[in-house]
C-alpha cells in the first residue's frame, strides 16, 4: 500500500509571510544565493509574518480541484525545531486545522476506468532555506553555507490516503496532479527546480501460505523530485520490504516507521532515521497571525477561478473525435491547450471544429513549433490566423501542399490568412473552365489511366490528379480535382454512348 505526500511550491510573486520575491515564481527563478531575503526572511528581531492571501487562494484552488472541503476557519501553528536553514527556529505550518480536507480524486486509468484516491488534507506552510557546502562556481568550502532564498516560500502539502497499490498508479496520480497544478496556474511544475516533491509512505501486505496476512512497517521515502525516482523508490521498497521481513520479521506498529532517502545512482533507498517519533515539535498556534476565515464570497470567487481541469478537457477532446493520444497531447501543457481552445472558439466551436483544429495543430503546426523549439501557442500564428487557415482547408480553398507556404508567409505578422493566400496565389482557382481545360489536357495525356478509371480501377486516378496539379501549379485542391476528373470521365463516357 502507498500513501503519498506531495509538496507543491506555489508560484506566488512574494513569499508566504513577507514581500520578498519568491523563487517559485518565474520572475525569481535561479537568483543569486541570499538575494531574496528581507528582515522577516532572516528572522531579524522585531519582524512579523503577514499572510499572503494569494497563496491561500492558490491552495484553495488545488483543494477544490481535488474535491476537498475548504475549512471556513483554519489557523497557523508553529512547528518548533532547530536547524540552520530554519531562521526563526520554527516553521509556520497548519497543524490541526488544515485549509483543505477530506477530498477524493477519480484518477483516470488507461482503458477508461478510474481509481478513487482519497485526499486526507492539504495544508499550507512555509519552506525552509537550503544548506550547501559549495561556493558559487562549484568551489568547495569547508563548512556549511546557508542560502535563505527558498526560506519562507509558500508550500502546499497534500496528503493522500493509502489508496494506491502500484507504483504506476502513484506516478499517474503525481503526473495528473502536476497537470492540474499547471492548469490552475499555481506552479509551472518544473521538477528540476523542486516545484513538486514527493514523499511516498510505503508498506507491503504479505499473504501467508497458511492464510492470513502480515503488514510490513511503513517506510517514508523523503524528497523525491522526479517521477522516475518516485516509481523507482516504490518498486524498490515493495521488493525490499518483503526481504527485510523475511530477515527480521518486523511488522507494522507504533514506532516501527522509518525514514529513507533515494539514491539515484544505486537506484536504492537508504536509511535516514529509524524512529519517526523521536521529534517533539511543540506545535502551538502562532500568536503573530490571525486565523484564516473563508466566507462565502471569498470561496465563490476562488471557485470561479478554477478552470476546467485536464482530465475533463481530455474527455471533451475525445468527444470531438480525436484519438486519446491526441487529446492527451493537446492537454499536456496549459498554454498550448488554451491556444487550441481559442482556435476552436474562433471556428465557432463544436466537434467538427475541434477535430479539424486538433488535427491541424498536431499535424501541421506542431512541426513548426518543434523546429522553433516552442509551444504551439508560440509558433508565430494567432489563434484567429490558425482558425483562418483551418477554415480555408475545410472549405477546400487551400490545398494541403500550400499550408506550409501560407504559414511561412503570415507567421509573425498580423495578416489575414485568406487575403495573404490570395495575394500569394496559394488559393484554389475557382475558374471551372480553366480547371476543366487542365483536366481535359491531363486526361488526354494519360489515356491509359483514364481508361482504367473508366473501367472502375479508381487507383489509376492519382496519375491524372498529379498531372492536373502540375499544370495548375498548386492553385487547385486535390480533392476538387479528383471530383472534377470523375465527373469529366463519366460525362465523356455518357457522351460516347450517346
Amino acid at each position: 500500500m502507498v500513501g503519498l505526500e506531495i509538496h507543491v511550491e506555489l508560484a506566488t510573486r512574494s513569499k508566504m509571510f513577507t514581500r520578498a520575491g519568491s523563487p517559485g515564481h518565474p520572475d525569481f527563478y535561479d537568483r543569486e544565493p541570499n538575494s531574496l531575503v528581507t528582515p522577516t526572511v532572516a528572522a531579524l528581531p522585531g519582524t512579523l509574518p503577514v499572510m499572503n492571501r494569494r497563496a491561500v487562494e492558490m491552495s484553495m484552488m488545488v483543494g477544490l480541484a481535488l474535491g476537498c472541503s475548504i475549512a471556513r476557519r483554519s489557523k497557523w501553528d508553529r512547528k518548533n525545531y532547530y536547524y540552520p536553514d530554519l531562521p526563526k527556529g520554527y516553521q509556520i505550518s497548519q497543524y490541526d486545522l488544515p485549509l483543505c480536507h477530506d477530498g477524493a480524486f477519480e484518477l483516470p486509468l488507461p482503458g477508461g476506468a478510474t481509481r478513487r484516491i482519497g485526499i486526507i488534507r492539504a495544508h499550507l506552510e512555509e519552506d525552509t532555506g537550503k544548506l550547501g557546502h559549495e561556493l558559487p562556481g562549484g568551489f568547495s568550502y569547508e563548512g556549511s553555507l546557508v542560502d535563505l532564498n527558498r526560506a519562507g516560500t509558500p508550500l502546499l502539502e497534500i496528503v493522500t490516503a493509502p489508496d494506491f497499490d502500484s507504483a504506476d498508479d502513484v506516478v499517474a496520480f503525481a503526473q495528473e496532479l502536476r497537470g492540474i497544478c499547471r492548469f490552475l496556474g499555481v506552479t509551472e511544475g518544473i521538477m528540476q527546480k523542486g516545484h513538486m516533491r514527493f514523499e511516498p509512505n510505503i508498506n507491503v501486505i504479505i499473504e501467508l501460505e497458511g492464510g492470513g496476512t502480515v503488514k510490513t512497517p511503513v517506510v517514508e521515502v523523503k524528497n523525491l523530485n522526479s517521477f522516475k525516482a518516485l516509481k523507482g523508490a516504490i518498486e524498490f521498497e515493495a521488493a525490499a520490504q518483503v526481504d527485510r521481513w523475511r530477515e527480521d520479521g518486523r511488522v507494522m506498529g507504533p514506532g516501527a516507521k522509518s525514514t529513507r532517502g533515494w539514491d539515484d545512482v544505486r537506484c536504492a533507498t537508504v536509511l535516514q532515521r529509524e524512529k519517526e517519533d523521536a521529534h517533539d515539535y511543540r506545535y502551538f498556534p502562532d500568536p503573530d497571525l490571525v486565523p484564516v476565515t473563508v466566507d462565502d464570497a471569498w470561496l465563490a470567487r476562488v471557485r470561479a477561478e478554477v478552470p476546467e481541469l485536464p482530465h475533463a478537457r481530455r474527455a471533451r477532446f475525445v468527444g470531438y473525435g480525436l484519438e486519446a493520444k491526441d487529446a492527451a497531447a493537446l492537454v499536456e501543457d496549459r498554454e498550448p491547450c488554451l491556444f487550441f481552445e481559442q482556435v476552436v472558439a474562433e471556428l465557432g466551436g463544436g466537434a467538427k471544429a475541434g477535430y479539424a483544429a486538433g488535427k491541424f495543430l498536431l499535424n501541421q503546426l506542431s512541426k513548426r513549433a518543434n523546429e522553433l523549439g516552442c509551444g504551439l501557442h508560440r509558433a508565430g500564428l494567432t489563434a484567429a490566423q490558425v482558425a483562418g487557415i483551418v477554415s480555408l482547408r475545410e472549405s477546400g480553398a487551400l490545398g494541403a501542399q500550400n499550408v506550409d507556404a501560407l504559414v511561412a508567409a503570415i507567421a509573425g505578422s498580423a495578416q489575414d490568412p485568406k487575403s495573404a493566400a490570395e495575394a500569394a496565389g496559394l488559393l484554389v482557382v475557382r475558374d471551372d473552365a480553366a480547371l476543366d481545360a487542365w483536366v481535359d489536357r491531363a486526361i488526354a495525356a494519360n489515356a491509359q489511366a483514364a481508361a482504367d478509371v473508366r473501367a472502375g480501377k479508381m487507383a489509376a486516378i492519382g496519375r491524372i490528379v498529379g498531372a492536373v496539379m502540375k499544370l495548375a501549379g498548386g492553385t487547385v485542391d486535390a480533392k476538387t480535382v479528383n471530383e472534377r476528373i470523375v465527373a469529366r470521365l463519366r460525362v465523356a463516357r455518357l457522351g460516347e454512348g450517346a
Binding site: 528582515p39 531579524l44 528581531p45 522585531g46 499572510m51 531562521p87 520554527y90 503573530d288
Partner: protein, 492 residues
C-alpha cells in the same frame, strides 16, 4: 523646561518660547551626568538629536507648520528596533546587534516630529520586574538609588522620572510599563492589544506584548498614543481602527463615571500605604461625583500562573531565532564539536539566567504530553478572565486598584523568582485579557527617609482608552497637590 510635561515643551517650542535644541541639550547633559548613577540609558544619540532639534527650531522660526511632537526628546526602550544605534534587549545575545529598520512605533513618533534621544535599559528581553536583570548592569530608581526602578521598562521609567527625556516608550507584556511607572512616579499606559503595531518590538510573549507611552502626565500619554496607534499592514494583530484622538478629549471629565474596585485588589498582602492610596483615589472620585461600585474578579489570583504558562511558552519559541547562526552572540567551538554544541553554548552564554529559566519553562509546557495540562488549559483560563472583565465592565467604566503591591524595593529583595513574579499580580490580567490599563502617581510612602512613589492603576475594557485616560486625568488633577509633595532625589 525639563520638568514640564511633553505637551508643555511641545507648545513652548512651537511658540518659540523654548528652543528644542536647548531642551534636548539640557536633557543630554543631564543624562551624561546622571547616567553613571541611574544606568537608564544604554546609549544616547547626541549629534543626531541635536541636529533634529535644530531643524525643528528652524521650522518654528520660519513659521512652518509643525507636527504634533515637533522637537520633543523621546527615549526608546532597547527592545524596540531603531536604525539609530543598537537594539540589544539588554542582552549579551544582541550586544552588538544593529537593526536595519525602525519599529513601527518609532517610525510614527519620528514622523510626528519626536527626536529619538537614546535607548534605555531593560530587564533582559523584557523579562523581569525590577530592572536588575540587565546585561549592562542594574538600573536605579531616581527616588532612591538603593532601590529598583521596577521593570522591565526600567530605563524608560527612570529616564522620564529623572528628566532625562520628555517621554519614553516601553513595552508591556505583564506590567512592564505600568509597574516601573508606579515605582518611579510617572504615568505608564498599556494600550489595548492591537492598538499599537508590534512591528519592530522584539517579541517576548506575542499575544501579550504591547508598546505604550511612559510620560509625566496623562495628557502626554494621550498625545503619544495618538501618534503611535492605528492599523499597520506589517502587524496582522493590529486592530482595524484609525489612530486614536485622545489628546483632544482627555481634559473632559467623564460624566456619571462609575469606578469599580475589585475586592480582590484591596488585599492584606499589599503594603498598607498602597491600599491607602487606592482608598484616597476612591475618595477623590467620589468627591468628583463618580459612583464607586464593588467589583468581583475572582480570577485575579490565577492570573500569575496563567501568565507564567502563556508568556514563557511563546517566549521559548520567539527566542529560538537567537541561535548564533545569522547574527547575535556565537560561541567558540573546539575542533570536533558539532552544530548542537554551537546552539547550546551560544545560547547558554548569550542569555542570562532569568531568560534561560523562562525558555526552559516554556519549552517544557509546550512539550508533547504537557501541552493540554498547561498551555491549552491556560488558554481556557484566559478566555474566562476576559469574560470576567466583560462582566465587571458591564457594571462600571473603569476598574481602580493598586498597580503594584508595594513601592520600590531594594536590590536583591525579591531574589526568589516567585516573589518577583508576584509584583505583577495586578497588571498581568490586563495583558491576558487584551484590555487597556494605566498607572498614575498617587502620592508617596516614606522609607529610610526617602520619598517613594506609589501608583494606582485604572483599567478599562478593550479600545476604551478614551474613557480610561479621561478618568485618569480626573484623578491626576485631584492628586496634583498630593503628588507635588516630593521630587526624585536624583534628577536633572
Amino acid at each position: 523646561m525639563q520638568h514640564a510635561d511633553l505637551t508643555a515643551l511641545r507648545d513652548a517650542i512651537a511658540t518659540g518660547a523654548a528652543s528644542a535644541e536647548a531642551a534636548c541639550a539640557a536633557m543630554l547633559d543631564a543624562a551624561d551626568r546622571l547616567n553613571p548613577v541611574l544606568n537608564a540609558y544604554h546609549e544616547t544619540f547626541r549629534d543626531h538629536a541635536l541636529a533634529e532639534a535644530r531643524a525643528v527650531d528652524a521650522d518654528a522660526r520660519a513659521g512652518r507648520p509643525l507636527p504634533p511632537l515637533a522637537g520633543v526628546p523621546v527615549a526608546v526602550k532597547d527592545n524596540i528596533a531603531t536604525v539609530l544605534g543598537h537594539t540589544t534587549c539588554s542582552s549579551r545575545m544582541l550586544g552588538n546587534y544593529r537593526s536595519p529598520f525602525d519599529a513601527s512605533a518609532v517610525e510614527r513618533l519620528r514622523s510626528a516630529g519626536a527626536v529619538t534621544i537614546g535607548k534605555t535599559n531593560l530587564d533582559e528581553f523584557a523579562m523581569g520586574s525590577s530592572g536588575e536583570h540587565c546585561h549592562w548592569g542594574p538600573v536605579r530608581n531616581p527616588w532612591d538609588t538603593a532601590r529598583v526602578p521596577g521593570g522591565s521598562s526600567a530605563g524608560s521609567a527612570a529616564a522620564v522620572a529623572a528628566g532625562l527625556c520628555a517621554a519614553a516608550i516601553g513595552s508591556d507584556t505583564g506590567g512592564s510599563i505600568r509597574q516601573p511607572a508606579s515605582l518611579c512616579g510617572i504615568v505608564g499606559l498599556k494600550p489595548t492589544y492591537g492598538r499599537v503595531s508590534r512591528w519592530g518590538l522584539v517579541a517576548f510573549g506575542s499575544s501579550l506584548d504591547q508598546v505604550g507611552p511612559m510620560t509625566r502626565s496623562v495628557r502626554d500619554a494621550a498625545l503619544m498614543l495618538d501618534c503611535m496607534s492605528g492599523l499597520d499592514a506589517r502587524d496582522s494583530t493590529t486592530a482595524d481602527r484609525p489612530a486614536t484622538a485622545l489628546a483632544a478629549t482627555v481634559e473632559r471629565p467623564v460624566e456619571g463615571l462609575r469606578v469599580g474596585i475589585p475586592r480582590q485588589y484591596v488585599s492584606g498582602a499589599n503594603d498598607p500605604e498602597v491600599n491607602a492610596a487606592v482608598q484616597a483615589a476612591a475618595d477623590a472620585y467620589r468627591a468628583m461625583g463618580a459612583t464607586i461600585v464593588e467589583a468581583d474578579l475572582p480570577l485575579t489570583d490565577v492570573g500569575i500562573s496563567t501568565y507564567y504558562v502563556i508568556a514563557p511558552a511563546e517566549a521559548s519559541s520567539n527566542l529560538a531565532r537567537y541561535d548564533g547562526i545569522r547574527y547575535g552572540h556565537r560561541a567558540q567551538l573546539r575542533p570536533g564539536e558539532d552544530l548542537f554544541t554551537l546552539y547550546a553554548r551560544s545560547r547558554s552564554e548569550g542569555f542570562g539566567p532569568e531568560v534561560q529559566r523562562r525558555i526552559m519553562l516554556g519549552t517544557y509546557m509546550l512539550s508533547s504530553g504537557y501541552y493540554d495540562a498547561f498551555y491549552k488549559r491556560a488558554l481556557q483560563v484566559r478566555r474566562r478572565i476576559k469574560e470576567e472583565f466583560d462582566r465587571a465592565f458591564a457594571e462600571c467604566d473603569v476598574l481602580l486598584g493598586p498597580t503594584a503591591p508595594t513601592p520600590a524595593f531594594g536590590f536583591g529583595a525579591n531574589a526568589d523568582p516567585l516573589a518577583m513574579y508576584l509584583c505583577d499580580v495586578y497588571t498581568v490580567n490586563t495583558n491576558i485579557a487584551g484590555i487597556c490599563g494605566v498607572s498614575l502617581p498617587a502620592g508617596h510612602a516614606v522609607r529610610d527617609g526617602k520619598h517613594l512613589p506609589i501608583g494606582v492603576q485604572l483599567q478599562a475594557n478593550a479600545f476604551e482608552e478614551d474613557r480610561l485616560l479621561r478618568a485618569a486625568r480626573m484623578l491626576e488633577r485631584a492628586f496634583a497637590e498630593r503628588n507635588a509633595k516630593a521630587r526624585p532625589a536624583v534628577s536633572a
